[in-house]
Every structure is written in C-alpha cells, then in structure tokens.
C-alpha cells in the first residue's frame, strides 16, 4: 500500500516534470489572410491558452523577414497600430488575436500568402519556451479562420 502510494507520487512527479513543458501553452485556430498583389506584409490571428501564468515575448516566422506583435487600437473612429513588447497570459484564460485587435504582423514576406496554403509562426514564451504553430492562409476577404 505504502509502496503503491510512493509509486503514485513518483508517477505524478514524473508526469508533472514532463507534461507542463509540452502542454502548458496551446496555440489554436491560427490563420492569416491571403496577400494582395504587391503586398509584402500580412497579419496572423490565433488563440493562445496557457495553464500557468506566462508571457508571450517574441514571435518569428520562417516565411517572413520579420515578425512583430502589434495591436490595432480603435479610439473615436481612429485606427492606429502599436508595437507590443509582449502579451500576458493569465492562467487558464484564452487570449485571442483577431482582426481589429492584436495580431502578429509579418513583414518582408518571402513569398505571397496564397489562400489554401500553410505558413508557420514561432511563438516564444517566457516559461513555455518556443512553440511552433501552423497558420492556414484564408482568402483575402476572410473575416475569420473558416473564411
């Protein structure tokens, strides 16, 4: 009995040591709009959920020369785009990047984004490390991930 308890504790410890790093942060529903001819920047939208408090600190993409965290702010009918140093992830709460709000801005795209293709982004978190996400490219007129 005592042995079983020890085994159970050992198991949960082992699980505890392995699982959080892999499962602490979940990125889902990543999408981007196709680019118009000549346009060499794009915006990636997605949802991030972390089981523990964490912070998204950097983004990059193999498909773009540069990626940045941006937020479009709307104030009294004015639209402005701001750089963000990072995004706080409260434990268990889904943080959504969506049109007219936060987005990952891709600059100096290495190729046009064409509807139906898939590109990648790498999100670096303070605790969870770097997580790669596949981004579905929707048609330019899409207003959400299912376009």
């Amino acid at each position: 009995m005592a042995n079983m308890r020890v085994a159970a504790v050992a198991l949960s410890l082992a699980a505890g040591m392995v699982l959080p790093a892999a499962a602490a942060v979940q990125v889902s529903g990543a999408w981007a709009r196709a680019t118009a001819p000549g346009q060499d920047e794009g915006a990636v939208y997605l949802s991030v959920t972390s089981t523990t408090a964490d912070r998204l600190t950097a983004v990059s993409s193999p498909d773009a020369g540069m990626a940045m965290l941006h937020e479009t702010t709307q104030m009294g009918g004015m639209s402005s785009m701001q750089d963000m140093d990072g995004v706080a992830l409260p434990p268990g709460k889904t943080v959504t990047f969506a049109p007219h709000g936060m987005h990952i801005m891709l600059m100096d795209l290495k190729h046009p984004l064409t509807a139906g293709s898939v590109i990648g982004v790498d999100l670096t978190f303070q605790k969870a490390g770097t997580v790669h996400a596949q981004v579905k490219v929707e048609k330019i007129t899409a207003t959400g991930p299912q376009g």
Binding site: T72, M75, G77
Partner: protein
C-alpha cells in the same frame, strides 16, 4: 508629442460630431459642417477621376493604405461581405472608393490591383499629396505616419466608412466594426 495629442483630440471631436450625425441619417448636417466634396484623383487604371465620375451612384468612401495588414483588409472584407448580402440591383448602384492615405507607396497600379481582390465595385484612388490633402480635409480625415520598430512605418488613420448619396451628399457613417449583416441592413436603411 503634444502636437500629436492635439491632433488626436481634434480628430476625436470631429469624430464625435460625425457619430452624432450618424445617429440622424438623411438629416442635414449641423450648419457649417459638410462632409465630402470635389476631388481630382487617379484610379487604379491610371485614369484621372473626380466626384463627377461616380455621379448617380451610391459611394462608400473609406480611407486607408495597402500596407495596412489588419484594419484595412478587415474593413474592406466586411464591406465586400455586406455587398454579398444585397440584391444584384442594389449592388449595381454602389461603388466603394478606397482612398489612400499613403500615396508614397500606393501608386495607381498598386492600389488598383489591391482593391480588385475585395470585389468588382471596389475602386482604389490615389494622387499626389497635394491632390489628397483637400480630400482628407473635406472628409475630416486624420492621417499621420507612425514609425515602427524596424524602420518601416504604419499610418494612423480615421477608420470610418462614409456613405454618400448618388447626388454626392453625405448621408451617414458605417462603423468599421459592424458585422456584414448589420452593415448591409444599415445601407438599405440609408436608402442604398
């Protein structure tokens, strides 16, 4: 900085006025405030155009720029989706004029091929800064360059859709955060 703030505050006041106007569709603007007016710009095919080029048509006027990755394509997509909710007859008499606030990067060819992606009734308009300035001021539009970290720049700009009647008069505003359904409904309510 202070100058920027003043501009923003000024923009806010204008926008509040516009928002009040939007609540009273089809009513006369307060005395002394007019929205829209004559312009001399270039369309996506390189043709010189003026407000008379679109006489007899409803016009949705929106200011933005093609290097804008979020607000502009989101708004243009919503307008395109709203168009899809209208009858072919209603659509036929509407043009969407996307006027650049970034003429340095938006040549006629660039803005022309950009807007085509959103629908057949979209027209991109550009011009020299001297030609665009009076258009921005007649629509009470705020636009300013804003440096980004990597040396590139974004444009802060008014993000409102102006609805202009076939006779050229301003009749109302559409919020860029409307759903396509709500936008289509409001367009019909305004008479389009």
């Amino acid at each position: 900085m202070r100058r920027g703030l003043l501009w923003l505050l000024g923009g806010g006041v204008v926008v509040l006025g516009l928002a009040a106007a939007a609540l009273l569709p089809r009513m006369a603007m307060p005395p002394g405030i007019t929205i829209g007016g004559p312009f001399a710009l270039v369309d996506g095919d390189g043709h010189a155009v003026s407000e008379r080029s679109y006489a007899g048509l409803w016009k949705l006027v929106y200011f933005g720029y093609t290097h804008c990755p979020d607000a502009c394509p989101t708004t243009l997509s919503t307008i395109g989706a709203a168009m899809d909710k209208l009858t072919p007859g209603q659509r036929r008499d509407i043009r969407v004029l996307f006027i650049t606030v970034d003429p340095g990067r938006d040549s006629p060819q660039v803005i022309g091929s950009y807007v085509k992606a959103f629908g057949p009734e979209f027209i991109g308009l550009t011009g020299s800064p001297a030609a665009l300035a009076p258009v921005e001021s007649s629509y009470h539009v705020y636009a300013a360059r804003h440096a980004l970290k990597d040396g590139d720049y974004a444009m802060d700009h008014s993000s409102i859709i102006y609805v202009m009647a076939p006779d050229g008069h301003f009749v109302g505003l559409l919020d860029d955060n409307l759903t396509p359904e709500a936008m289509a409904k409001k367009l019909v309510a305004l008479g389009a």
